[in-house]
């Protein structure tokens, strides 16, 4: 008798099945590659946060080295013998009698005294080299990481928001509204996405906000498709019908009951899109359709690096490429691990 009574005396929380997120977190923790890439991504995000708060790379625009200063580990550039034109040897000719500007010289010299220029000593080498103006490439790459990563994340958030909202509405209601949204989807996918991006870029002004909107507006279709399919599947399930029976409103059923159950799909898509949008931002900025001229992103660095490379100044190209490659690789691997953890059915695909 007593033995029968002992076994059901589990605490209610332990008896309860583990949630999908807890189970996914456990699965994710066993994935060594995923954890390592998560650490790299978190490190990058901390650097981005520090740059955004002005803790690092705040003075990336200060020209602290000589133009095209090489990296410290390479050593200063060899002095090239200056080829000067031989100074004229004859005596100076006094032309003040015919010089129309002569009366102004004293006045200008007075005016010039009011401004003081500080000629800071310029370093011959910088930790990872300098650009054309002598700005520190490392600080630039960190500031560029801030812009590129923020744009990628924000654009992915916009695309996810649009895709999820429209997908939820289309999948849940179906009918006329569903047909209409399918039509919108068909229109947006009727042309190659790069053409859509160019069409938006043609009418929007330049700047970070525009890039986010352009990429978000051109890139929501994939998420819409997946979320719509999930909502169609879930809308007729028992738990949603039960919620309706106890009087849950339409909005509550869509976003409080179904959305948490499909949120793993949304999260994985968000993460996949971040990588794609960072790459797109780099290309747009390279082409001059991206961030403004007073900002720096990995794309603008690459476009400067192209002409520098011909002169043998490889450091700016290397800095932008390495930072981007490390971040994007880590983020992709983290996304793969996330997908495996959240959706074990897909494990092993790709």
């Amino acid at each position: 008798m007593s033995a029968v009574l002992v076994s059901p005396q589990l605490t209610p929380s332990a008896a309860r099945a583990r949630g999908v997120w807890a189970a996914a977190a456990t699965r994710f923790r066993t994935d060594k590659v995923g954890m390592a890439s998560l650490i790299v991504v978190v490190f990058f995000l901390l650097v981005v946060l520090a740059a955004a708060l002005g803790l690092v790379a705040k003075d990336w625009q200060v020209e602290r080295g000589v133009p095209d200063a090489p990296p410290t580990f390479v050593g200063p550039a060899a002095k090239t013998a200056a080829v000067a034109i031989a100074a004229p040897s004859g005596p100076n000719v006094d032309i003040s009698a015919v010089d129309p500007l002569a009366p102004k010289y004293a006045e200008w010299a007075e005016a010039a005294k009011k401004y003081q220029t500080t000629e800071a000593a310029r370093a011959t080498t910088l930790p990872f080299g300098g650009d054309r103006l002598g700005r520190d490439v490392l600080a630039k790459a960190i500031k560029g990481a801030e812009v590129s990563i923020l744009v990628g994340v924000a654009a992915a958030a916009v695309a996810t928001l649009i895709g999820t909202l429209l997908g939820a509405v289309a999948g849940f209601f179906g009918g006329k509204i569903g047909d209409f949204l399918e039509w919108v989807y068909n229109v947006f996918t009727a042309m190659p996405s790069i053409l859509l991006i160019f069409a938006f870029a043609a009418v929007f002004p330049r700047g970070v906000g525009s890039v986010v909107m352009i990429l978000g507006l051109a890139g929501w279709t994939g998420i819409y498709r997946l979320v719509r399919a999930e909502f169609i599947k879930h809308a007729v399930r028992d738990y949603v019908r039960s919620a309706e029976a106890i009087g849950a409103s339409t909005a509550s059923r869509m976003f409080r009951h179904i959305l948490p159950n499909v949120s793993h799909v949304v999260l994985v898509q968000l993460s996949i899109h971040v990588v794609g949008f960072i790459k797109s931002e780099v290309i747009l900025s390279y082409l001059g359709l991206g961030v403004g001229v007073d900002q720096v992103s990995w794309g603008t660095m690459l476009s400067e690096a192209q002409s520098e490379l011909i002169l043998g100044h490889w450091w700016q190209l290397a800095a932008a490429t390495i930072l981007m490659a490390v971040f994007v690789t880590a983020f992709s691997l983290m996304t793969d691990a996330l997908r495996d953890a959240l959706d074990p059915k897909l494990r092993g695909l790709e």
Partner: protein, 312 residues
């Protein structure tokens, strides 16, 4: 078959109408005033008004939409605002260059990726497979720009194997002299993602029962892969090629910009930078038409490749 064709063509009309509407509203709603773009900074109010009158910008919105529709149907987009070249002429003269570069890229990419993918699928799960997967992940994470910048610098500028950039009037000279480097770089870059994708197609098929049956009959792994799996995997591969076909017309615009190839992709980019609306609008609408037609042709091709497919 005929009924299927007619219904598919019929279904294109609303989508096409939507594309036209999207392009129209986008440029009307968000784009600047065309008259001010055309008039330039020094135009007087009277001049701008005259341009507005000429373009029909003072008409009600639905009349303007009518003018827009008429332009599309009659293929008469007028002239580029920037160069005064007829838009139709622009299309006709820029398309050959794009096709000269893009056709070899697409063919080489597909033909190279299939054997690579089969090879990787053959040794699936092994160290080689995993090493290739890691390598392609890293290769994919480096921006396309870097490959082109470095490739152009090393192969053309340093080694002098190819001209740095350029183009000529003769198709043969273009193919022999100017196209090889852009094609080589584009294929090298796209090989990693394409191989990865095709590998998943092969792996999807390998799990099926018919593969087990073939193995049980005593067929070698080679025969199973090349005869049984390859044929079935051709369907998703074909889809993938078809999806990238419309891209041929837009061109690898980055490649065209880097190598100064006078193709459509470069022209669109120039148009975007110059706010040359007629050119962008024409491109958007016609590329959408081409995309839809290509999709239809692909669906019909399925029928030819796989007799099991029923068109309905």
């Amino acid at each position: 078959m005929a009924a299927y064709l007619i219904r598919r063509l019929w279904q294109m009309i609303p989508t096409l109408f939507g594309v036209v509407l999207l392009v129209f509203l986008l440029f009307k709603g968000f784009g600047g005033d065309p008259a001010e773009v055309m008039g330039g900074l020094n135009a007087t109010t009277a001049q701008i008004d005259a341009i507005r009158q000429q373009l029909g910008l003072n008409e009600p919105l639905w009349t303007q939409f009518g003018i827009f529709l008429k332009q599309i149907v009659t293929f008469d987009w007028g002239k580029s605002w920037a160069t005064n070249e007829a838009v139709s002429n622009l299309f006709a003269t820029r398309l050959p260059a794009t096709l000269t570069v893009m056709t070899p890229i697409l063919i080489l990419e597909t033909l190279l990726a299939i054997p690579f993918a089969i090879g990787v699928a053959y040794v699936r799960g092994s160290l080689t497979d995993r090493a290739i997967m890691v390598l392609t992940t890293v290769a994919l994470s480096i921006s396309f720009l870097v490959y082109v910048i470095v490739g152009q610098y090393v192969f053309a500028f340093q080694l002098g194997l190819f001209p740095v950039q350029g183009w000529s009037d003769s198709v043969w000279t273009n193919l022999r002299v100017y196209a090889p480097l852009p094609v080589l770089l584009a294929v090298a870059v796209s090989l990693a993602p394409t191989t990865r994708l095709y590998r998943t197609f092969f792996l999807d098929e390998i799990g099926h029962d018919y593969v087990r049956t073939a193995r049980a009959k005593g067929m070698t792994e080679r025969t199973v892969l090349l005869k049984h799996v390859l044929r079935n995997a051709m369907i998703p591969i074909l889809t993938n090629v078809a999806v990238s076909l419309p891209g041929i017309f837009v061109g690898a615009f980055l490649i065209e910009v880097f190598f100064s190839i006078p193709g459509l992709g470069r022209e669109i980019l120039l148009a975007v930078n110059r706010s040359d609306y007629p050119v962008i609008q024409a491109f958007a609408v016609y590329i959408a038409v081409i995309t839809m037609v290509v999709n239809l042709v692909t669906d019909i091709l399925y029928k030819l490749v796989d007799p099991r497919v029923v068109l309905k």
